[in-house]
Symmetry: C2
Subunit: 232 residues, 2 copies
């Protein structure tokens, strides 16, 4: 399964907020064997949201959209997603019911638009906040507030499944430039892919579909590179 | 000036790394009055890098690409950018010269490919690490290691300029849903845009091109919402 994550919000594009939602979702999806192919931040504008969501759903198996839910004028994600699939935004019975029954809100208390979702969407209740999420065809719409997003994702994560992959990390004190040959060799000899990430040490991340293949490749590499001090 | 930021790297798409490069660049660019219209993370694959860079340069005034520079097999950004503009990757004289003269490297010490840049690129020296950056037409290519990226960006940031904007933040303890009417009114009465960001308090971020207009709008709002305790 290959998916795209779209994070909506001018505050992300202004650098006011670090996009920890994206890394959290990416980690959780990757752990389920799902390949995240794009993470894209778009402004709070209906047409931009619609355009990017449409482009990605044409290409990937699903699109997860976060942010821009709520009652204020800059919460435009539901309108963008509705436009992407050519549906109206309509007051959603189940959303209203959930908020009044479980959320403890009186219907009159809720701001106009709070329970508006794209027509025929599946409503995702928000257990932490107010604004409901939605599933429309292959588009999953989650809130931007991290605790709300995480709780809602956990309700639906079983719908995201891919091939199980195994990873192992080898840290070395050698500079990347000296590792080129051995990184080439390990990928020739074993069915693994290796990412190389320089930092204080160089972190070599091995990924494989087969666990014993992974262990063999990591062992091969560990015997041939100068390992970084674990204690560091 | 409207730009896109493309961050390259499987480690970002796996959630191993939080994309602080993107938020740092977005903040610096926004402070210069530049509008960041997209921040997109793409995998370490030449064709994907080329495709996204090309799409964005057709639409925006410039594209900043970070990550995926270096000598290892998963450093594919220069090849992707070269493909985007239909140029060859060639050993870059100025890059080699800079690394041997300023960097203190012997030419033979450098891994193959270290000084390869798209043909006729302007080389950006890396004052903190090894891999040089590049400017190719309207595409700026920077390293992914944050300290290297920041130092290199500071060499070129004067090339990014937009309309000066002013911002002010008002924090209120009122819930977003109750603010809808006043947020509508302030944007009707003053030439400002308002972003509304719920958290412990609701943060209202006002943006305007005119400083006194901004101050008037913030003052109007401050008199009409219940302000959050500053000490919090």
């Amino acid at each position: 399964m290959r998916i795209a994550v779209v994070t909506v919000g001018d505050e992300l594009l202004a650098g006011d907020t670090v996009n920890t939602n994206a890394s959290w979702l990416a980690e959780r999806l990757t752990a389920r064997g799902v390949r995240v192919e794009r993470v894209t931040t778009v402004p709070d504008r209906v047409a931009e949201i619609a355009r990017v969501v449409n482009e990605y759903r044409a290409e990937y198996d699903a699109v997860i959209v976060t942010g821009g839910l709520g009652p204020t004028h800059d919460d435009l994600t539901m309108a963008g997603v509705a436009a992407a699939v050519g549906r109206e935004l309509v007051e959603h019975e189940a959303a209203l019911e959930w908020l009044t029954e479980h959320g403890g809100y009186a219907a009159a208390e809720l701001s106009e638009g709070t329970t508006d979702l794209p027509a025929r969407a599946r409503m995702l209740p928000n257990e932490v906040g107010v604004a409901p999420g939605a599933v429309v065809e292959d588009i999953y719409v989650l809130p931007g507030v991290p605790e709300e997003m995480k709780a809602m994702f956990e309700r639906i994560e079983s719908e995201f499944n891919g091939e199980t992959t195994y990873t192992e990390t080898v840290r070395t004190v050698e500079p990347e430039s000296e590792l080129v040959g051995r990184l080439h060799d390990v990928q020739e000899m074993f069915d693994v892919t290796v990412g190389s990430y320089p930092g204080d040490d160089v972190r070599l991340k091995l990924t494989a579909n087969d666990e014993s293949e992974l262990r063999d490749a990591a062992g091969w590499l560990e015997e041939r590179v100068e390992i970084a001090d674990e204690a560091k």
